[in-house]
Subunit: 356 residues, 2 copies
Amino acid sequence: MTSTPSSPVDFVRAAVDSEIAEFTERRRAQLLEIGPELKPVMEALEAMLAGGKRLRPAFCYWGWRGAGGGDIPEIYPAAASLEFLQACALIHDDVIDNSDTRRGLPATHKRLEELHGRSGWSGSAAGFGQGSAILIGDLCLAWSDEMYQGSGLPLEALRAGREPFDAMRTEVMAGQYLDMLEQVRGSESVEASLRVMHYKAAKYTIERPLHIGAALAGRYPELAGVYSAYGTALGVAFQLRDDLLGVFGDPEETGKPAGDDLREGKRTLLVAETLERAAADDAAEFRRHLGDPDLTPETVDRMRALATGCGALEACERRIDGYVAQATRALESPLIADEARSALADLIVAATARKH
Amino acid sequence: MTSTPSSPVDFVRAAVDSEIAEFTERRRAQLLEIGPELKPVMEALEAMLAGGKRLRPAFCYWGWRGAGGGDIPEIYPAAASLEFLQACALIHDDVIDNSDTRRGLPATHKRLEELHGRSGWSGSAAGFGQGSAILIGDLCLAWSDEMYQGSGLPLEALRAGREPFDAMRTEVMAGQYLDMLEQVRGSESVEASLRVMHYKAAKYTIERPLHIGAALAGRYPELAGVYSAYGTALGVAFQLRDDLLGVFGDPEETGKPAGDDLREGKRTLLVAETLERAAADDAAEFRRHLGDPDLTPETVDRMRALATGCGALEACERRIDGYVAQATRALESPLIADEARSALADLIVAATARKH
């Protein structure tokens, strides 16, 4: 998602970026003191952290503001800490899915695999890449809570924030496992797809960051409900939009080859809806192509036509509209501080707009 | 390491075990609420946590007592949290090393691989096992600091403990990377082997747990030096003993097939000393067999004879003796509270004794 200069994501981006840079710089010094050979570890980690939309920090920040928190410097490192968790999730996800690229660049394990190849080391380059990526993800996960605890917010506030912070970590990892499980089970149900989306994306990307913001401001009990209503609806809408972009999106904007999610066989709601709505022959054809790593552009076009023709795309769009309406209604709550309400409304548009 | 009933490890074991059980029970409920299919995740995690010597919690506890901390209930969950970090390290290590067993039982990724096979799911069973193990390790890592922060110790004490706690996590992951790197570089130097041991084992197993205990008791600045002197010396001695057991140990006690470290090609100090001390022909023979997964018992015996004959075993034993003497001298410091001094002395014996 790109943003206009005045967007609520841009509002936090510069401060979040500089907190990440400063924290990373200290960790770089610490690692290089242990051994100069750790430089490639740091470089891979920095490359991963340089990208990203800062969406979770933005929701954390606006969740804090919506709960009456002020624009103080200490909220930024606390919010930025979520980017390290996200870096861990992406790095490990790419190992698990065996994905070669991330945002158009080599995935972390590919970077280290290439280092192994270039260096003429012994053993398996792929194994070295994967092992390194596991450890780099672990570092990111450890550094996430290190940055959170070290943000400088009062210890009591940090303690209050731990409840949603901890729940979020468990939920995203459980969601990833369920996602993997649905893939190997070949699950095709709309319900299974929605459950994975709920834990892996909706709660993790939006609801929990908002909860953390509210808890840090000491208002988790009052705001949990309204932020959940807004966050889970918007979270699912955001993921649905992302899934549609994975199939219909412009490679220049997604950073992935066109139709890549179809090649990977990702079990999205669009897939579930297509298999449910298409005529038996069409569904069988779609199912046969799904997950074929060698899909031609023509077949990708054919699959798109099937998803569109049977009404699956339209069903997903209607669902997005429904969730957007839910999220919008949730914002009417008088519990949310005014200065945050319009930012949270803008975030709905930014997270779900058709064109990016 | 086994312990007599009155050992300083046994002193903490029951309380540490019950803290782990209680914490795990709550997490089990949380996971099963997300999805009943997460049961195997919990079972794998519980199996991993059921084993283990509780060595790190013991050093954390006695570090706390040595710094004047009392025998209060809140120190136990803080100390027990280190077992979750260790569970993460072992689970991920087994994926990285592709080790099928851990303590004589299937490694975590093998458990989940078997679940995949039994269930007749699609896709790669090995891939599913590895992916699951990555996520289960991540859960353990997140739960480690969750348990630490939730121990009930005063927030200021927990903040003080974060410095060594955070340093420890970075060090152990950096140490694992360096270990992997030395393997693929085919490093044979005594120095490289000692550096890996320093970060991956000595600091992580003994020095940092002691530091955390001292910091929680508010006495990190005074005690850091003496605990480092004791901890790094004993930590290296402990790892050397472990390495010798990996080659010369009784499979019944190590839980690994005899000579398994030789089959894995583990670059230990014993290996470095052997390659450095043996005659050229013998060193070449040893090097040729090292890392051969199909080593016969006869060849294992031959390699043992080579390591013994050239004086490498004796050199390692002398080194252990030297480190034990250093650790013992460090305990003379009047900074260490009397009630902990004899426990820390017993821990030297427990961690480095030849026969277990």
